[in-house]
Amino acid sequence: MSLDRRRLRRAGDGALLGGVCAGIAHRLDIDPILVRIATVILTVATGGMGAVAYGLLWLIVPGTPKTRRAGEEAKPTSRHTWLIGAGFGMVTLGLLFIFRELGIWWSDSLVWPTVLAGAGAGLLWRQFSGSGESEDAAEPETPAWAASGERRPAVRSRPRSRLGPYRGAFGFALVIGAAMLFLYVQGAFSAASEAALAGVTLIVVLGLILAPLWVRLARNLGRERAERIRSQERAEVAAHLHDSVLQTLALMQKKSDDPRQVSTLARRQERELREWLSGKSERERETSLASALEAAAAEVEERHGVPIDAVTVGDRPLDERTVALVAASREAMTNAVRYAGDAGTIRLYAEITPEETQVFVRDRGRGFDLDAVPEDRRGVRDSILGRMERNGGAAEVRSGIGEGTEIELTMETK
């Protein structure tokens, strides 16, 4: 449940109105009553903005499905419908008083239509915002005890969907009634000149009624889309594993009498899989010096069947000079493979800073005395050195009998 605490959600259990305060309290791990008091104080102090914020949070913050224990009273009984309607009416009335106190006022004739509309809209909003999240399991049949408000004998079904239409109709009637009352009070029925006012009122009413439907539709669409993306991704992963891992495994079974080839196959597959898991695009890999060095190590390893471990720190884009550095590194690795391929893993370490790039290629071969370099080895060294120097870099070879050999390539950034 640690995840639930981390994300703000409207509370399902212990909600008074929309569960916003209880949700915030749960997130902050404090008593909901504190949050509720703070909300009320905020509402009064800011002249109603607290209530508006509450409404916004109700819309934006996702809810949690209610968990019901067996024997708990079913919530949306007809008594609850009245309570909820009355509650929203009271909240609306309270807000109107605050507005009036602050001098934001049009006419006293607005009071009752607004309160009625608030109660009706509240019922509609509450119904749709609640049922939109728990609708995936269709209700087979609703037992009689649900409607009559008896104690529930078991879990399983939700009486809410049975009562929903009634509550919706009740809310609908309240909003319509409020509109009529408003028009009547304003005298719109008698004066044709106020047809425009009637039109606007109608639009507001329709908005109040249809908005929750629209919100629910949008949420359901979002959920469907997420589901579709997930199944697409699964198909893609399956296809990739089939093309790569399964093929390699089959190949390894065939070659199981040749340990060296099995090891090469396994390492190649591992590298491919890691590359794929890293999520880097082809383009990112083509323009990155670190990726180019790793690719060169993989290439030499595959050609000669000697394991090469590459570690890179930092990165920079490839250019003419760094391409030359990669070529020199490849040569250094090939050299190490040739002279020390039987002495275990060869290591490439590259450190790329804004000022310079250093590449180290180290083998654990016999090593040699630098002062008594055999002629052929010097040739290789010279070719690496020459390549580096032509591009403004430097190369150094360190070796000793029994210590292995390390080639260091340095290239400063111009």
Binding site: R6, D309, V311, V313, G314, R347, Y349, E351, R362, E406
Partner: protein, 214 residues
């Protein structure tokens, strides 16, 4: 001196058997566990010197095992073993309390060497881990929000890490830098401490990401 005692925690039976066979020559394997709960019970009962810990297991993985036993049995040390060398995995398990991190392709003798080192309270850095730590500590820190002492590596520590990343053994590093092996070990332990305690943005972020996935 008696042999170092080791417990192997991994949910793959084949892998446990393979590691056990490799370790038999150098250390004493006192038990195996395949789940977090078994592992916690095993550590409580046998109190091994070192626990070889798989990072990825059901029910919270190696991290959960460390969390449940670290304060209770402080003499047991943890060495993380994983197929992954992803930075977020490394950071998360080291910050929970592991003394080192090696990948599963490590050879038998190298693994025994790492176990011995961890059992003496030292840190174990594979070349990959050293490279990654250099990466994480590279660049500037956000001024004001960070503890400078913990958020920066000293030049000497960087040098030691660089040589580890290049494939040098501790004794080769000591010879090259003209210091004792003990000093090299002290630098490594100091880096481990910074890895665990630093509030550097990269480290916190990686650790948090990993925590969310669990």
């Amino acid at each position: 001196m008696s042999q170092t005692t080791v417990a192997i925690v991994d949910d793959h039976a084949i892998f446990r058997a393979g590691v056990r066979a490799e370790l038999e020559s150098g250390v004493e394997v006192v038990g195996e566990a395949s789940t977090v709960r078994e592992a916690v019970a095993l550590v409580r009962e046998r109190r091994p010197d070192v626990v070889l810990l798989d990072v990825h297991m059901p029910d919270g993985g190696g991290q959960e095992v460390i969390r449940q036993t670290l304060t209770e049995i402080p003499d047991t040390r943890f060495l993380a073993l994983s197929v992954s060398d992803a930075p977020e995995d490394v950071v998360a398990i080291v910050r929970t309390g592991a003394r080192g991190y090696v990948t599963k392709t490590i050879s038998g003798p190298e693994l025994i060497d790492a176990i011995e080192r961890v059992s003496q309270g030292d840190a174990v850095f594979s070349p990959q881990l050293a490279g990654f730590v250099l990466d994480a500590f590279a660049g500037r820190t956000d001024p004001g929000t960070t503890d400078a002492e913990l958020d920066l590596l000293t030049p000497r520590e960087q040098e030691v890490l660089r040589l580890i990343a290049r494939g040098y053994l501790y004794k080769e590093i000591a010879r090259r830098l003209g210091i004792s092996i003990k000093t090299v070990e002290a630098h490594a332990s100091s880096v481990l401490r910074k890895l665990q305690l630093s509030t550097r943005h990269e480290l916190s972020r990686w650790a948090a990401e990993r925590d969310l996935i669990d």
